[in-house]
Structure formats: structure tokens, C-alpha cells
């Protein structure tokens, strides 16, 4: 070769190819199957890994530079936020329920995503997807960490934050998100990418991130919304990766289409069930609301979803199987979930409350066909109980769905007065489900879902054997962090401090 040749100017694509693609080689001393043992068993056929289009051509020098700039800004802002008692700028302490739920459920999910992407970043047999997944892996640990750091300051002043690590593994409602991510991680590498990269990041992320981060901005939570802004460009990359991975699978072999379709059906439903918690957050937990869950769904679910599935139709992909059931549920789920959380509030590490008069007006306006008819009477009943000095609690333990792990509290898609309940018998045992969607997911892989760890039955087993107080201690459920907002220390402290600040 000719040393000291004047280098040609390379275009970005070619340069990126040399800097990543060209690093790998075809092994000749060992069989590829030994190096990538998990790449075949799901049945996805890949004929040519080099057909993978790099969704973002980022080399490490640029990555370090951009990310460091964002990190510098982010920590400068949360430091200032902590120093200036920024927590007192939130609308009121009810808002904290939203971010407690976020820290207990979503931050651990970011971490799981980090580990999951590291695994698939090792298991794929092509350097293009390897590097793309590794970059997402390192981004995801960033998100978990920046979230913990943002919440750390809130933890200094309020209840319900300090035990998030223990609660991630032991509380009944955190197992909704936990089981979702455990499900994805225990699947093969291609299904993981469909689950997290495509369904979660591409189809559903706008319904999770935008509401939380806009909620933070609307409610004066500078720390959380700064995190949201800072993560935005990462998320944009992740969405691109999600879309690229599905196109890659579909283009590699027609046999992949039915497999991918099955996964889309499953993960869309799993995702929508997980998002019911976000629905409750949007409609009930934000003192100052951004938009209703219905409005968010119309924009980010229906409009974006329709465009996406129109685009995927050319591959023979159909919209997700239970799309219509989701659509029918949108005007109901937030109310159903919130009524559930409210009646089990002795067992949540966040506070809940009955809607105020103005909340009720807003809910009526946003849900003209459902709220007043089906849900207002129940809230009125709870409010009346309080006014009479009682409390609306349900000390019976909810029956959890074997698949999504939410309590079986949803109604039939076509009859909002009937609780939906499905059962499947498998190897002599009966399993319960909240919906056709969850039953369907179970029946595709019963041997997987029978393993689910259900927090409610564990209360009845060794070593707790039904001792509710012991169970609450085990799950770090302290009375100060639970129950009715109006009687909470968080409320009292927040109001006291707020007053102190404004009089000083």
C-alpha cells in the first residue's frame, strides 16, 4: 500500500462505516453460533446483517462531547434547584405523587433497559445493531442515574421516596413495570428489541415521557422537567433505533413477519396496560393538568399510531390485535385505576385524594360520556364517607392479573358496568386475567407467565403468612408515606415551608 497518501475526504456514511462496521470480522477459528448462541432460537431469519441501516452515525468522540455538554447543564440546574429549595416551587405537594410513582416504577425500568440493551448489544451477530444497542445501553443508565439524582433532593424533604430500591422488588404496583421489563429481558434479543426498542420507545414513549415531563413543567418541577429536556435527544435516537430494528427484521425474510406481528400484538397490549398508571397520573395526580389522557391518546396513540401502521402495512403488518379494546378503554381506565389506588391507599407509597370540585368539573368536561355516568357516583360516595368522618378503604386484597399484574378492576370493553374477568386453566391450576388481551398474552406462552411473582399471594405464604403489618414493613410501606393526602405530613410540611418562604 501507499503510505503518506493524501487522505480523501470521506462522507459521513463512509466514515462511519469504517469506524464501526469495518471493525468486526468474520470469525474463522470459532463458529459464529458459539459466539452468538442466542441469535437463532426465536426463529427470526437474518440473511445479511450488513443491510442494517445505522440510525444515527455517532462516533465516540462526538458522543462524549455532546453528552458531556448536556450533563454539565443538567447538573448545574439540579444543583441550583436543590440550593434554592426548588421543591417549594411545585404547584402543591399533591404533585409529588406523580414523581414518587415515577421513581418507584420508571427509574428501575430505565436501569433494566440499560442491562437489557447491553445484552442484546452483545448477542446480535452484526456490528451495526451491536453498537447501536450499546449506545442505548449507556444512555439508559444515564437516565436511571439522572432521575435518582433529581429525586434525591425531594427525598430529603418528603415521604415516599427513600425506599424506592426495596419497593422496586416488593410493592404490588411496582411489579407492573417490573414484570413488563423482566418479560422483555427474559425474551430473546429480537423480541427484546420489539418490546423495548419498538413498542415502548417508538409507539408508546410519547405517551409516557411527554405527559410526565410536561406535567413537571406545568407544575413547577424544574428538576424533573430539566431531566426530560436533557433526555430528549437520547430518546429521539432510541426511537429511530426502534423503527430501524423492526424494518430490518421485516425486510430480511418474509417468515419473520408473523413472528414480529405476534410480538407487536403482545407488546402493544402489555404497554397499554402499563400506561394505565400514566393515565391516572395525567387525569388525577397533577394539580395543574397538561391534557387529559384521552387527548394524549388521540394525538400520540391514534394519530401517530395510524401513521406508523399505515407505513408498516406495506410489509404486511397489521395494527395490533387488541387496538379496538384499547380505544374503547381510554375513557375509562384512568378513573378505574385511580379509584383502585384510592381504595388501596393504605398500601401505596404515595398519597391519593378524592377529586376537588374543580377537578370534577374538568373531568366532566374531558370525559363527557363516561365520568359523570360511571365514576362520579363512586367518588361522591368516597367524599361522603370522608365528610361523615369515615374513610373509603378496601382492606380486601385485590386479585391481580397473572399477566399485567394490575388488579382485575377493568370493565368489559363493551359494557362499562361489568367487571372483566378471564380465567385459563393450565396444568391443573387456574389463572386470572383482567382482559382478553392479557389472557391472550398468557396463552401464547403459559410456561413463562405461570412463573410470574405475584405480590398478593406472597403475603399469604411463608414467612408473612397473612400478617399485613409484617407485609407492610417488608415492603417499606410506612404509614407516613401512604393514605389520604389531606392528612399527610407532606401536605402539612409543604404548606408550612411555603409560608415560611413567602413571609421571609
Amino acid at each position: 500500500m501507499d503510505i503518506k497518501k493524501t487522505p480523501k475526504k470521506l462522507n459521513v456514511k463512509e466514515k462511519y462505516r469504517l469506524m464501526t462496521r469495518d471493525l468486526a470480522w468474520e470469525p474463522s477459528y470459532r463458529d459464529e453460533k458459539e459466539i452468538y448462541p442466542y441469535v437463532d432460537y426465536e426463529g427470526i431469519k437474518v440473511h445479511d446483517w450488513s443491510k442494517w441501516e445505522d440510525p444515527f452515525r455517532l462516533t465516540m468522540d462526538a458522543y462524549w462531547k455532546y453528552q458531556a455538554e448536556k450533563e454539565r447543564k443538567y447538573y448545574a440546574i439540579i444543583d441550583a434547584h436543590a440550593q434554592n429549595n426548588g421543591h417549594l416551587n411545585v404547584t402543591d405537594a399533591r404533585y409529588l405523587t406523580a414523581i414518587k410513582l415515577f421513581l418507584q416504577s420508571i427509574s428501575p425500568a430505565e436501569y433494566a433497559s440499560h442491562r437489557g440493551f447491553a445484552r442484546v448489544g452483545r448477542e446480535f451477530a452484526g456490528v451495526g445493531p451491536q453498537v447501536a444497542c450499546q449506545m442505548q445501553s449507556i444512555d439508559e443508565i444515564r437516565h436511571a442515574q439522572t432521575q435518582v439524582h433529581a429525586m434525591s433532593n425531594y427525598n430529603k424533604f418528603y415521604n415516599g421516596f427513600k425506599d424506592f430500591a426495596n419497593q422496586r422488588d416488593r410493592i404490588w404496583y411496582t411489579s407492573v413495570a417490573r414484570s413488563f421489563f423482566d418479560d422483555a429481558m427474559s425474551a430473546g434479543p429480537f423480541e427484546f428489541l420489539i418490546a423495548i426498542g419498538f413498542s415502548f420507545e417508538y409507539v408508546l414513549t410519547n405517551l409516557l415521557f411527554v405527559p410526565f415531563m410536561s406535567g413537571a413543567a406545568y407544575n413547577g418541577d424544574m428538576a424533573t422537567c430539566t431531566f426530560g429536556f436533557s433526555a430528549q435527544s437520547d430518546e429521539a435516537r432510541h426511537m429511530t433505533l426502534g423503527l430501524e430494528c423492526i424494518k430490518f427484521m421485516l425486510e430480511q425474510d418474509p417468515d419473520n413477519i408473523p413472528i414480529v406481528q405476534k410480538w407487536i400484538d403482545k407488546w402493544f397490549w402489555r404497554g397499554c396496560r402499563l400506561l394505565t398508571l400514566v393515565a391516572a397520573m395525567m387525569d388525577y395526580m397533577l394539580p395543574k393538568r397538561v391534557m387529559s389522557w384521552r387527548e394524549a391518546w388521540n394525538i400520540y396513540g391514534v394519530e401517530n399510531g395510524n401513521a406508523l401502521f399505515r407505513d408498516l402495512a406495506r410489509y404486511g403488518i397489521k395494527p395490533p390485535m387488541h387496538w379496538d379494546d384499547v380505544e374503547k378503554s381510554i375513557d375509562h381506565t384512568s378513573h378505574q385505576i385511580m379509584l383502585g389506588l384510592y381504595q388501596w391507599k393504605f398500601g401505596t407509597a404515595f398519597h391519593s385524594w378524592t377529586p376537588t370540585a374543580s377537578d370534577i368539573e374538568w373531568l366532566k368536561e374531558k370525559y363527557p360520556t363516561t365520568f359523570e355516568k360511571y365514576y362520579l357516583p363512586r367518588w361522591e360516595y368516597a367524599i361522603a364517607q370522608k365528610e361523615n368522618g369515615g374513610e373509603y378503604n378496601n382492606f380486601g386484597l385485590p386479585k391481580l392479573c397473572q399477566t399485567c399484574q394490575l388488579p382485575c378492576l377493568f370493565t368489559e370493553p363493551d359494557d362499562p358496568t361489568q367487571l372483566a374477568h378471564r380465567e385459563t386453566e393450565y396444568e391443573g391450576e387456574k389463572y386470572h386475567f383482567c382482559s382478553d388481551g392479557c389472557q391472550h398474552v398468557f396463552e401464547q406462552e403459559p410456561e413463562k407467565y405461570v412463573q410470574a411473582w405475584l405480590p398478593m399471594p406472597s403475603l399469604m405464604q411463608e414467612p408473612l403468612k397473612g400478617d399485613l403489618a409484617a407485609w407492610m414493613e417488608w415492603a417499606s410501606l410506612e404509614p407516613t408515606a401512604s393514605g389520604e393526602y389531606a392528612n399527610s405530613e407532606d401536605k402539612a410540611n409543604f404548606e408550612k415551608w411555603r409560608k415560611q418562604v413567602s413571609t421571609d
Binding site: M1, I3, K4, K5, K8, L18, M19, T20, D22, L23, A24, W25, Y29, R30, I35, P37, Y38, Y41, T59, M60, D61, Y63, W64, K65, E69, E71, N85, A112, R115, A118, G121, R122, Q134, S137, I141, T146, V148, H149, S152, K156, F157, F161, K162, D163, A165, N166, R168, S175, S179, D183, S186, G188, K448, Y449, Q451, A452, W453, W497, Q500, D504
Partner: protein, 332 residues
């Protein structure tokens, strides 16, 4: 003039999160490293077994022969979490960028003696493929290792290896354009000098014990390769022969090795002091891999120096590695 900034003092309820209080007490406010690293991985009530290996748990400490009572003992002395990691690397990258500019603007490559450039081409550019293997190996440790303080630095280490492969690629493009990379790949695939290393890395990519991969890649192979190639051949031999420009462009690798070996050594020391069984396993891995990789690197060193000297340099690197192992409490 003194300005008193008035802020409102309100009493704190919690100094820290409960899991950190259990580990470190609550006399001191925990560091951001501690908040970002401890107990982040799910520990209990894992829902499903992996469909890819149903005999394993989703996070499974038994994937390794190494046993730890608490994997969170394996902390990173650099205290890298995402933020400190990226800020450090961005700073180093700035230096490297100006190094590349300096070398370019002074035409240092063109002014370099041909034999020096030939060594850079034959020895350094093929190494980018070895860095790719190291990237994959560290990604495996991050994915399947146990406990965030152990796994987290491995994703950083993986990305560092990718970064090094890319610095080497840029060097290649500077000295011989795309043909440099093509020739280096040809060497990596076919030339006798590189085959033992390529074979060993393919073997290592088949190992699934995350700690074994960590030890053989990060301690043994890198512990021989970086002192040999960057500290001795580049920074001494090539510099003496007029190759300072090369040394400037591999500055990241030299500094990175010195920085990251503190972490690697500390992990090994903690594992070794945990039990006699751990110590025995580590010694077996290190002993066999050190002998193996020493012989593998001999023909690689031979690309830069004559046979006798290659022997000498490789055995120096081997001794140095064993000194590190002894300092970490092994082979005593």
C-alpha cells in the same frame, strides 16, 4: 464587601435513601456516585427465567465461578457514574482533537521516517479489531455480571474500547487513507503474526463467565498489550526513531490504561480477599491466560522490533503483570 445570600433553612427529613443508609450510615451525605450505583439492579422476586437459558436467573451471580457475599463490594475507585465518566472522556477527547490538529498542521506524519510509519501501520492499525473484541467482551460483562458497581464501569470500558478503535482508525486514515485500514484488516485476517491473537479473542468471545471474561480481557490481555505496545514500543522505540507524532495520537490509550488499571486491580483485589476459593480461581485464570497471551503477543511485538528484543519486551510486560497480581493479593 461581603454579601450575605439569604436562603430559607428548612429541616430535612431524610439525609439519604434507605438502601444507602443501610450501607453507609447517615452521618455523611452520600456521594452522587453512591446514589447512582448502589442497589440499582433488581435483587428479588425476578419474574421469569430467561427463555434463552432457562437454567439461569434473570440476574444470576452463579454465572461466574467467583463468589461474592456482596457484589457491591467491587466499587470503582474512579467513582465513575455516567456524568463523571462522560465529563472525563470529553476532556480527554478535546486534548486528542487538538493532538490530531497539531499532527496535521505540522505535517508530522509526512515528516516521519518510513520505518516508523511501517510499524504504526503493521502494529497499531490491526489492533482496532482487537479493541472491537474488547468492546464485545466488556459489553458481555456489563450485561450478565452481577451488581451495578461491577457492571456499570464495564459499559464505559466497552465504549472506551470502541473509542480507541476509532482513534486507531483515524490514525490509519491519516497515514494511508482507506487502504491503510484495508491492509490492516488483511493482516488481522491472514498474516501469521496476528493469527494467534485473533484466535485467542475468538476463543474468549465464546466464554460466558462474566468475571472470567473480565479477568482475561481487562487484566491479562490489556495488562500485557498496553505496556508492551503503547508504553514501550510507541512511547520509547518509535519516539526515539522520530515517531513522536504517533505517540501524540496514542496518548489517550496510554492515559486510559493507567487510569483504568486502578479500577481493574481494585476489583481483583476485592475478589481475591473475599475467599481462598476466589483466590484459587483467579490465580488459575491469570496464570494460564498470562502465559498464553505472552506467547500470543510475541509475534505481534516482532512486527516492531527484532526477535531478541521482542522476547525481552514481552517478558518485561509479563513480569509487570505478575507484579500487579501480587499487589492485588494473588500468588502469595
Amino acid at each position: 464587601m461581603q454579601i450575605d445570600v439569604q436562603t430559607v433553612n428548612i429541616e430535612q427529613k431524610n439525609q439519604t435513601f434507605t438502601h444507602l443508609k443501610k450501607r453507609f450510615g447517615d452521618k455523611k451525605i452520600p456521594s452522587r456516585y453512591q446514589e447512582a450505583s448502589y442497589d440499582l439492579q433488581a435483587e428479588e422476586n425476578l419474574h421469569y427465567r430467561p427463555t434463552w437459558a432457562p437454567e439461569q436467573e434473570l440476574y444470576d451471580p452463579n454465572l461466574s465461578k467467583i463468589r461474592m457475599n456482596d457484589w457491591y463490594d467491587l466499587k470503582d475507585p474512579r467513582q465513575f457514574y455516567y456524568s463523571t465518566y462522560t465529563l472525563n472522556r470529553a476532556k480527554q477527547q478535546e486534548t486528542m482533537e487538538s493532538n490530531f490538529k497539531t499532527v496535521e498542521s505540522l505535517n508530522l506524519i509526512e515528516g516521519m521516517p518510513d520505518p516508523v510509519l511501517a510499524v504504526a501501520q503493521d502494529l497499531l492499525i490491526p489492533l482496532r479489531h482487537a479493541n472491537y473484541a474488547a468492546n464485545m467482551n466488556n459489553t458481555l460483562v456489563c450485561g450478565y455480571g452481577y451488581g451495578t458497581v461491577f457492571t456499570q464501569p464495564c459499559v464505559y470500558h466497552a465504549m472506551d474500547n470502541l473509542g480507541i478503535a476509532q482513534y486507531l482508525s483515524r490514525l490509519g486514515l491519516m497515514i494511508g487513507d482507506v487502504e491503510s485500514l484495508e491492509a490492516a484488516k488483511q493482516d488481522w485476517m491472514d498474516s501469521d503474526a496476528w493469527q494467534p491473537l485473533r484466535r485467542s479473542l475468538e476463543d474468549l468471545m465464546c466464554v460466558r463467565d462474566p468475571v472470567e471474561v473480565f479477568i482475561k480481557q481487562n487484566f491479562v490481555l490489556d495488562g500485557l498489550l498496553y505496556p508492551l505496545v503503547y508504553q514501550r514500543i510507541v512511547d520509547q522505540n518509535l519516539v526515539e526513531q522520530g515517531g513522536s507524532g504517533i505517540s501524540i495520537l496514542t496518548q489517550f490509550m496510554t492515559n486510559w490504561y493507567l487510569e483504568s488499571k486502578r479500577w481493574v486491580d481494585s476489583v481483583i483485589k476485592t475478589m481475591a480477599s473475599e475467599s481462598a476459593e476466589n483466590k484459587a480461581v483467579l490465580e488459575e485464570w491469570i496464570d494460564s491466560a498470562a502465559n498464553h497471551f505472552t506467547s500470543v503477543l510475541l509475534p505481534v511485538a516482532g512486527l516492531a522490533v527484532a526477535g531478541n528484543q521482542a522476547d525481552e519486551l514481552v517478558s518485561e510486560a509479563h513480569d509487570e503483570l505478575l507484579q500487579r497480581a501480587k499487589k492485588a493479593g494473588l500468588f502469595k
